[in-house]
């Protein structure tokens, strides 16, 4: 009973409310992604399932595009691509950044100095430009897009892990373990890693928001996710191209507005979730790059 009261107190704070709302949004998108085949009335990659530029109605709930794609089906299936890329990119960035940061921070010396210099340089370079060049060189596709996006986040995981490792390394219990003859690898695995992993969820969540924006940007520019795959950024891009070619601006508002809202709401969800977690888990980690 008391635990429940404490939990309720925590959830009634601003941070708690953020976690609840953000978590609900992200779960909702995950739900859409899992049940997309059941929810979508049409094949999202099939041309001409409806008349071109149909306004939203009971059959085509979000309307259709110029080529007669069903926008509702595409929007729902878009969650799959978004979450897959986020998942892949985060995993890759984690797998590269965290071990590198651990070793760099733990070993120190010239290895650390060189690694920090390289990572800082990459970190200071404009994210989107880096991603767009990598995506262009690699070519389109979900996996390639994920690689392009993940490159940006490796330095972030590296930095956080390294800083954390440095501070944990100086703590008494780790020194004690070393004095008792624990091997370096053992010390990292048993003592440092559990500590470091505490700050990972927050960065992971906040980076997820960023990754979706980056992916959307890439797709808008014509890289990353390529037609006919259903993704929001791509739909906005197609609508924009149509708009600039025909100048028939106001007649197709749904074509840009709906995929845009899909992005905005998911970003808000991830951001709220990440900030809420941040407030509760580690208030000192506020305001990294974003």
């Amino acid at each position: 009973m008391r635990v429940w009261t404490r939990l309720k107190d925590e959830l009634l704070t601003v941070s708690g409310a953020r976690i609840l709302i953000g978590g609900a949004i992200v779960l909702f998108y995950a739900f859409l992604a899992v049940f997309a085949p059941a929810l979508a009335p049409f094949d999202p990659e099939e041309l001409g399932v409806g008349p071109p530029l149909q306004l939203p109605d009971s059959t085509y709930r979000f309307g259709t595009t110029y080529l007669g794609y069903d926008l509702f089906s595409r929007t729902v299936y878009g969650t799959r691509i978004a979450l897959t890329v986020v998942f892949l990119a985060s995993t890759m960035a984690l797998l590269a950044g965290v071990p590198l940061g651990l070793f760099s921070g733990y070993l120190g010396g010239w290895f650390d100095r060189v690694a920090v210099l390289i990572m800082d340089s990459v970190y200071s370079f404009p994210d989107l430009i880096l991603a767009v060049v990598v995506a262009a060189v690699l070519g389109g596709g979900v996996v390639n897009a994920a690689i392009a996006v993940s490159v940006i986040y490796v330095p972030q995981y590296f930095r956080v892990t390294r800083n954390h490792t440095l501070s944990v390394r100086e703590e008494t219990f780790v020194e004690a373990a070393r004095a008792l003859g624990a091997s370096k690898l053992d010390t990292i695995r048993r003592y440092i890693f559990p500590n470091v992993s505490q700050s990972i969820p927050v960065i992971l969540t906040l980076n997820s928001a960023d990754a979706i924006l980056t992916l959307a940007g890439l797709s808008f520019l014509g890289f990353g996710i390529t037609p006919p795959k259903p993704f929001w950024g791509l739909d906005i891009s197609q609508a924009w191209r149509y708009l600039t070619l025909t100048k028939e601006y106001p007649q197709v508002w749904w074509w840009t507005a709906i995929p845009g809202f899909a992005i905005v709401v998911l970003i808000i969800g991830f951001t709220l979730l990440g900030e809420g977690l941040n407030d509760i888990l580690n208030p000192q980690l506020r305001d990294s790059k974003r």
């Binding site: 430009i129 767009v132 940007g217 808008f220 609508a239 974003r290």
Partner: protein, 343 residues
């Protein structure tokens, strides 16, 4: 006691910072090289596409010097760049620098005004919510931060085009200047400045009208993050001992908040601004594409789509140089604000 404020100490500091950025420049150039010469495997084949014949590819490889060992290519690239030679565009067959320089000034103009807008909004919102911590206003500032972050910048751009340019017809939809007037004569390459130099008020208004939407969209996008930084750092400094001491001395509250709170918050904020400059450049690529702004970013996208790797390499090098220069500027500004850094 430590030395007094001699200008030489600031100069020493700047020289030291310049030396420290050399490794960063070197690493960024290496990164560009790896991305564009090593990663694609055979850049010549990639540029010509799958249907090119072996002879044509070989010829291009010969022409681009891709037959030489990678190490030689690498040092050639670094040497050329340091001499100011950015290579030759594959498609246009002219030096990349000649293609880039007009676009660079276009991007600088856009980024400068966006930055200005971001700083004004960011400071206003940040200070406002820090001084009203925990109130509805503060929450409003927070919502502003989250929303500006959550809106994809190109989407925001399109929405603004549709509303302000198409529906209301207040501003032009895209481009940098009207076809009915000749652009101002080149002096600086910044249309706003050049119009002033030429003394043509109509050209100045036209340039500003074209600039208004893209600069605002880019500026608003950055301002949210900036406001949040200002707020957190100001709250931090407002809690500090010297602020309490100033209050105990009966210093006017407005001075406490601005002279002590804001000024001390600026040091970390300016540092983050350096990182946001990178964000601004990334945002500029999207904004320029959305508004058909003839800048470096949209040019980069075009060259990437055409697989003109030598040109891409030159453009990305320019971006890298921009990042390095910005980091030096940030260090100098911080040294000017904080006496502890410069002595």
């Amino acid at each position: 006691m430590a030395g007094r404020g001699k200008p030489s100490s600031l100069l020493n500091y700047i020289v030291l910072r310049l030396l420290l950025t050399l490794p960063m420049l070197f690493i960024l150039l290496t990164l560009v090289f790896v991305l564009l010469r090593v990663a694609p495997g055979d850049p010549a084949a990639a540029m010509l596409g799958a249907h090119a014949s072996v002879e044509v590819i070989d010829e291009l490889r010969e022409r681009m010097g891709l037959n030489r060992p990678l190490v030689v290519q690498y040092f050639d690239f670094i040497g050329d760049t340091l001499r100011g030679d950015l290579g030759k565009s594959f498609r246009f067959e002219v030096p990349v620098w000649d293609l880039v320089k007009h676009r660079l000034t276009a991007t600088l103009e856009l980024v400068f005004f966006a930055f200005l807008i971001a700083v004004v909004i960011g400071l206003a919102v940040g200070i406002f919510s820090a001084n009203r911590r925990g109130t509805v206003w503060d929450l409003g500032g927070n919502v502003y931060g989250i929303l500006t972050y959550a809106f994809p910048i190109f989407w925001l751009g399109i929405m603004c085009q549709l509303f302000f340019a198409v529906k209301l017809g207040w501003l032009p939809t895209s481009g940098r200047f009207t076809g009915f007037l000749s652009p101002p004569a080149m002096h600086t390459g910044l249309y706003v400045v050049d119009s002033l130099i030429e003394g043509r008020f109509d050209k100045l208004v036209t340039s500003l009208r074209y600039l208004a939407l893209p600069a605002s969209v880019l500026g608003v996008y950055i301002s949210g993050i900036f406001a949040r930084m200002v707020r957190t750092n100001m709250l931090q400094t407002l809690k500090s001992d010297y602020v309490q001491a100033a209050r105990a001395r009966g210093v006017k509250e407005r001075w406490v908040s601005l002279r002590h709170g804001l000024k001390n918050a600026l040091v970390p904020v300016v540092t983050v601004l350096g990182l946001q400059f990178a964000l601004l450049l990334g945002g500029a690529v999207l904004t320029e594409t959305t508004f058909s702004w003839p800048g470096l970013g949209s040019f980069l996208v075009g060259r990437l789509l055409e697989r003109d790797y030598p040109a891409v390499q030159g453009i990305v090098t320019v971006f890298a140089l921009g990042v390095v220069i910005m980091s030096i500027v940030i260090d100098i500004v911080n040294a000017l604000i904080d006496p502890r850094i410069r002595y």
